[in-house]
């Protein structure tokens, strides 16, 4: 098979064409994602079995009993639970449009303020974990892939084990061994950097295992490519070939995975924040779900969806940065 259609018009750089529609399409689907996330959360929470007013009242008093209508009337009126569900839904969406995520039933705080307070810690954790995962993956892949059959087997074996490690289990063990046992890291205090190490490793190691598997496969494929032979024929060393040529190709699946990884990291953060007593939206989320604090749950879902959309946009950009072929297609 000879060449490709590109042959005929090699001079025309086809950048620029279709960038705007792509961005617009992205934005439209982002809005759709946010709208759907908000709606799904609203209906899930509003239609769940159990009475929200009772929940509110009981939670405020620490009791677990059935309540009479008289007791509940003021709360229902306060939060508009008496309105038809569609009216509540419209109110909710209306609030969202004006940038308000509502006021927490439980904490009486504006949800946007609450999330603004909590999300930096979670983002710091997840981004650090992602960075940790990347560093581990790249170093490990370069160091072990196709070195010798034994090193390669050890390399992929370690990856498989890492990928299978339940983060909650790993977290407890890291905590007990390195913080409680050896005292290398603070249990709850210390500087922000010191506090971050174990939680970031807890999330980063299993993720590195996953990304490592994908990266290793791509690395192996890239190593077999003729351009690698070409580079060697120019006198490039093995390490040079790995770092300068192969790595870039091998990083592509990892970059794609990073968008997905964020969701899983946020899920993981819920657990890790509990184990390591870190603040963050994970903990707030669990307690909000437990107390059916609809505005908080909804707000967090929307913000997480927003983060997801933004991150995937970044992943797209990063992907085109690493593989410029996409930008021109």
């Amino acid at each position: 098979m000879t060449g490709s259609a590109v042959d005929e018009q090699p001079l025309k750089r086809r950048v620029g064409n279709g960038v705007l529609p792509r961005v617009l399409g992205r934005l439209a689907s982002a809005v759709l994602v946010l709208f759907a996330a908000a709606s799904a959360t609203f209906f899930a929470q509003a239609l769940l079995p159990g009475d929200r007013a009772t929940l509110l009242l009981n939670q405020r008093t620490g009791q677990t009993e059935a309540r009479s209508d008289e007791e509940l009337a003021p709360i229902r009126a306060e939060y508009g639970f008496d309105d038809p569900i569609l009216v509540q839904y419209a109110d909710y969406l209306g609030g969202l449009l004006s940038g308000r995520l509502g006021v927490s039933y439980q904490m009486h705080q504006p949800v946007e303020a609450l999330i603004a307070e909590q999300i930096p810690a979670t983002l710091l954790l997840t981004v650090t974990a992602l960075a940790v995962a990347w560093v581990l993956t790249l170093v490990w892949t370069i160091a072990t892939t196709r070195r010798s059959s034994r090193i390669d087997a050890i390399g992929s074996g370690v990856e498989t084990v890492a990928a299978g490690l339940p983060p909650y289990w790993l977290g407890v063990i890291l905590l007990v061994v390195f913080a409680l046992g050896l005292g290398w890291f603070p249990v709850i205090g210390g500087s922000e950097a010191a506090r971050l190490v174990l939680p970031a490793l807890t999330l980063g190691i299993p993720l590195a295992g996953f990304m490592g598997q994908a990266t290793r496969a791509a690395f192996e494929r890239a190593l077999e490519q003729p351009f690698v032979t070409s580079a060697r024929m120019r006198g490039m060393s093995d390490l040079g070939v790995r770092v300068r040529h192969v790595l870039r190709h091998a990083a592509l699946p990892g970059i794609t995975l990073s968008g997905w990884a964020l969701g899983s990291l946020i899920s993981g953060a819920v657990i890790v924040e509990t184990i390591f007593a870190r603040p963050g939206i994970g903990r707030v989320l669990v307690s909000a779900v437990n107390s059916r604090d609809l505005p908080v749950v909804g707000g967090i879902v929307i913000v997480v969806a927003l983060v997801y959309v933004v991150v995937n946009l970044l992943v797209d950009l990063a992907y085109s940065g690493v593989d410029p072929r996409l930008a021109t297609e």
């Binding site: 759709l32 996330a37 074996g157 339940p166 063990i173 192996e220 946020i266 669990v286 779900v289 967090i300």
Partner: protein
Amino acid sequence: MTATAAPPLSRTRRTPSPTLLLSLLVVAFFLAAAIIPGVLATHDPLQFDLVAALQSPSLSHLAGTDEAGRDLYSRIIFGTRESLSIGLGATALSLAIALVLGVAAGLGGRVVDAIVSRSLDVLFAFPMLLVALLFVAAFGPSPATLVLAVGIGTAPGYARMIRGQVLAVCTSPYVEAAHAVGHSSWRVLRQHIVPNAVRPLVAVATLSIGQSIVWASGLSFLGLGVAPPSPEWGALLDAGRAYMTHAWWLEVLPGLAIVLLALAVTTIGRHLQQRLEGHRA
């Protein structure tokens, strides 16, 4: 391409390795534990023995005892069925959803594809655990909830994969060849597209079982899983956490069971994957 058969710069594919055999053995053991736990267990998993609480592993209690003197080894054995069925159930559900969505998106034309793909985008934006939390909040913690939550939570990823696979198969030369012979669309769908699009799923399903077990245990670990005194592995981990500093086995050993099983099925899954890809290459 012509002539230049690449010289074997790299070593050839691995032959059936000891790792694979070991993995098969591990899976066989846990399958046996799930089917006939009574045979493998040494004690009644629920039997309290208040004088034997928190004993470290020994010959009489292979994996030690928990705070109520229950034999941990037997609990792990008896917990296998639940953990494994949750893993299998969630995987089955996840793949079923993924199959329907993925095939619909892959075959249904632009509009259906757009709708399904956008819906998947939305599902992706929900972290798995949030979906699970909502389900637990709605239906209460139970194995069925775990299956639902994990199944739905992991489905979008597989759906995307199947969609891609269907699209790839649809545009493959052999499907075109089948059309060119004059076979009906239905026959091509049945004979080529579905089997080939689904084929990689065998391996993926295997890989997914391990992950589902890990996720489901994670929910149990958060106290949102299976009801005690069921010895589901995540519940064991949750229970063991508090005793970690004094009775490491309560946390370490159930965790090892999860890792071991997840590892074994993953190894088998990857092996399957390699074999299937080998056919394709």
